[in-house]
């Protein structure tokens, strides 16, 4: 395909397959709540674009604050047509006083916010977005016909993706039309997808995987995208599988936890008549992939004609549009047995015995027209196969910038391998390539914590903890994650208590307050909360919190406990 932008593709689809359905939205029970053909989507998006250009000019930023649904898809394409830069964002929770929305707004300085009429009524949102212009998007049909606007150029910005970056240092990946078309083309060539490749997506549309694989990918292919609300999936994951069967879907993507959830919620009576044989590309990514999860998922759903060979582990990140590596279609899950103890020392060895065996899931190979390298994060030298280092990525899908953040852009997006030319993206993830070029991810350089596919920055959670009660010392806490016996990441909060307060506080009350703050502001469960004596947290001489040292001391039980409230 030779198109300069997603807008050109939308127009092409509206012209050549206008009566075919582009998007269907399902209720939590799996009933169709609404649908748009390519022409209807095109016309409705044009209507939004017409309203947009009356109040905004190309390059202005517009927040997209929508629950999953057709409105959000219309608003997204409306922004693209008007060349207004879309900024998809999670709908802020009512209770959450501090979340990422404020820092995203401070970074991208939006002119307007697009939302549904229902959300526009919410008082807390009116307050949060005070000063912005509002544009509500509903399902009123648009008027047919083209719009007299210049089409976006290849290098025009389509949207900003704020999935990476902490609250204190938000990073909005600048996603251009060229990057989107490049990455979708790479994926299409690797996967052999086409118009027939119906996708069923429950991932939120502010998440790169949901928006790009679901909406952008389906538009690129001219395929149907069936949408489910994320909350509906969490509540009734089998609805996802039933929809895949009903729509004969071919492609989906989801994080590891989704497959665990399907197994946990398996009910034979809800799976009657389900046939998963159309499901050819079952992408797994966005958080560490566990071999045991995939084994169980395959075993549980094989009776419904799920083919093990179609499960496709991969690796992706917003800085590379979305997809970085995928497994060969039909090849199934490839695992490698390694020594657990050697891996902790960042070395690749054969296991010394059953107890020492870790089965690592292969994340496939670099997508076409791209390169992967493993680089020593200190010396910046390229490392040979089977050596653990930082994953670096090169290709037309790699972003050129974070919005208004030149330092982070230079550091992460324009890196150079020692003695070589060419610019690379530094992923911040640790892993290795085997002799055939298959990628294995072993951990992370940065302290990023990933729980159920959501990124959490320790410094954000630490700050929420310290703000929760005056007895908790500012810059006196460390948050990290440790895997539990099932291999799931569990949050640990270590926090100093002020000298003046340590004899007066009720530890149980304080840990409750901390747990509440973490749950409400970060959607995460603080399993272990440890209060420690003043000035006993490991820090560098310059006063920087040493999270990995704190983690080691906690694991060894060597912190200076005030109380040891661990719940385990």
């Amino acid at each position: 395909m030779d198109f300069a932008s997603l807008v050109a593709i939308l127009e092409h689809r509206a012209t050549t397959q206008g009566d075919e359905r582009a998007v269907v939205f399902l209720s939590d029970r799996g009933n169709e709540e609404g649908a748009l053909t390519f022409r209807e989507l095109h016309d409705a998006a044009n209507a939004v674009a017409k309203r947009l250009i009356a109040i905004a000019k190309p390059g202005d930023r517009a927040l997209l604050v929508f629950p999953s649904g057709l409105e959000s898809v219309i608003a997204f394409f409306g922004c693209l047509i008007a060349r207004v830069i879309a900024v998809p964002m999670m709908v802020p929770r009512r209770q959450s006083a501090r979340d990422s929305s404020a820092s995203i707004m401070a970074n991208c300085k939006p002119l307007l916010v697009l939302t549904t009429p229902a959300l526009a009524e919410r008082g807390d949102l009116a307050e949060r977005f005070a000063g912005l212009q509002w544009l509500t998007v509903d399902l009123t049909p648009g008027t047919p016909g083209a719009i007299d606007l210049p089409r976006p150029q290849e290098d025009d910005i389509a949207f900003l993706q704020y999935t990476s970056g902490s609250t204190s240092d938000p990073k909005g990946v600048v996603v251009t039309h060229a990057m989107l078309l490049a990455n979708m083309g790479q994926a299409q060539r690797a996967l052999g997808t086409g118009k027939h490749s119906t996708c069923v997506n429950w991932l939120p549309l502010y998440h790169d995987m949901g928006l790009i694989l679901g909406i952008v990918g389906s538009m690129y292919l001219g395929a149907l995208c069936v949408l489910l609300a994320p909350s509906g999936f969490i509540q009734r994951p089998l609805t996802w599988l039933r929809a895949i069967s009903q729509y004969k879907a071919e492609i989906t993507a989801a994080p590891n936890f989704a497959y665990d959830l399907c197994v946990a919620r398996m009910r034979a009576d809800q799976m009657e008549g389900v046939d998963l044989s159309s499901w050819k590309i079952i992408l797994v990514g966005a958080e560490p992939i566990r071999a045991a999860t995939l084994d169980k998922f395959i075993e549980t759903f094989a009776p419904y004609r799920l083919a093990a060979s179609q499960v496709n582990p991969g690796f992706g990140m917003a800085e590379a549009t979305l997809i970085v590596s995928m497994s060969p279609v039909g090849g199934g899950v490839d695992t490698r047995k390694l020594s657990r103890s050697a891996m902790q020392a960042k070395l690749i060895h054969d296991p010394k015995g059953a107890d020492d065996t870790h089965r690592l899931v292969g994340c496939g190979y670099a997508i076409p027209d791209s390169q992967l390298a493993i680089v020593d994060p200190q010396t910046l030298e390229r490392l040979p196969p089977d050596t653990i280092g930082e994953l670096w990525i090169h290709g037309p899908h790699v972003a050129g910038a974070y919005w208004e953040n030149p330092e982070a852009s230079d550091r992460s997006l324009h890196a150079h391998i020692k003695g070589e030319s060419g610019e690379w993206l530094r992923s911040g993830d640790l892993g290795f390539l085997d002799a055939r070029g298959q990628l294995f991810i072993t951990g992370r350089i940065k302290d990023l914590i990933i729980i159920r596919g959501s990124n959490h920055y320790p410094q954000d959670i630490e700050l929420s903890v310290q703000r929760a009660h005056p007895a908790l010392t500012l810059n006196g806490g460390a948050v990290f994650a440790v895997p539990d016996e099932r291999g799931e990441e569990q949050l640990v909060v270590v926090q100093e208590v002020e000298r003046t307060a340590r004899n007066r506080i009720d530890p149980e009350e304080i840990t409750g307050i901390i747990r509440e703050a973490v749950a409400e502001q970060h959607e995460a469960f603080a399993r272990h909360i440890v209060l420690i004596r003043p000035q006993s947290l490991p820090k560098t001489t310059s006063g920087k919190v040493q999270r990995s040292l704190t983690k080691r001391l906690w694991l060894e039980g060597k912190l200076d406990y005030l109380t040891a409230e661990t719940l385990a």
């Binding site: 509540q235 919620r265 509440e516 959607e523 469960f525 399993r527 385990a568």
Partner: protein
């Protein structure tokens, strides 16, 4: 089911979800104070729906934010004539 039975059921489920001893589940503590995130709330909701054969909206947990309040509400809902529990 009586309010007490529903409350005991919630406590058992929460102990399992949070992996803590039952004695540590305070029936008068807000769910957020126990540390429940929204996914965990949904797990509890699903277990209640399965056990009691009724439908609950996630909003219920905001309106009745403790085990005690929630079980009182559900006990009334189960008992109240004219509003039979929805069939699944």
């Amino acid at each position: 089911m009586t309010k007490q039975e529903i409350s005991d059921f919630c406590v058992n489920q929460l102990a399992e979800i949070l992996r803590i001893p039952k004695e540590q589940v305070d029936v008068n503590a807000k769910f957020a104070r126990l540390g429940l995130d929204s996914a965990m709330t949904v797990y509890l909701l699903m277990e209640l729906e399965d056990r009691l054969n009724l439908e609950l909206s996630p909003e219920t947990f905001y309106d009745y934010p403790t085990v005690d309040a929630l079980s009182a509400y559900i006990a009334e809902k189960v008992a109240s004539p004219g509003q039979p529990a929805a069939a699944r």
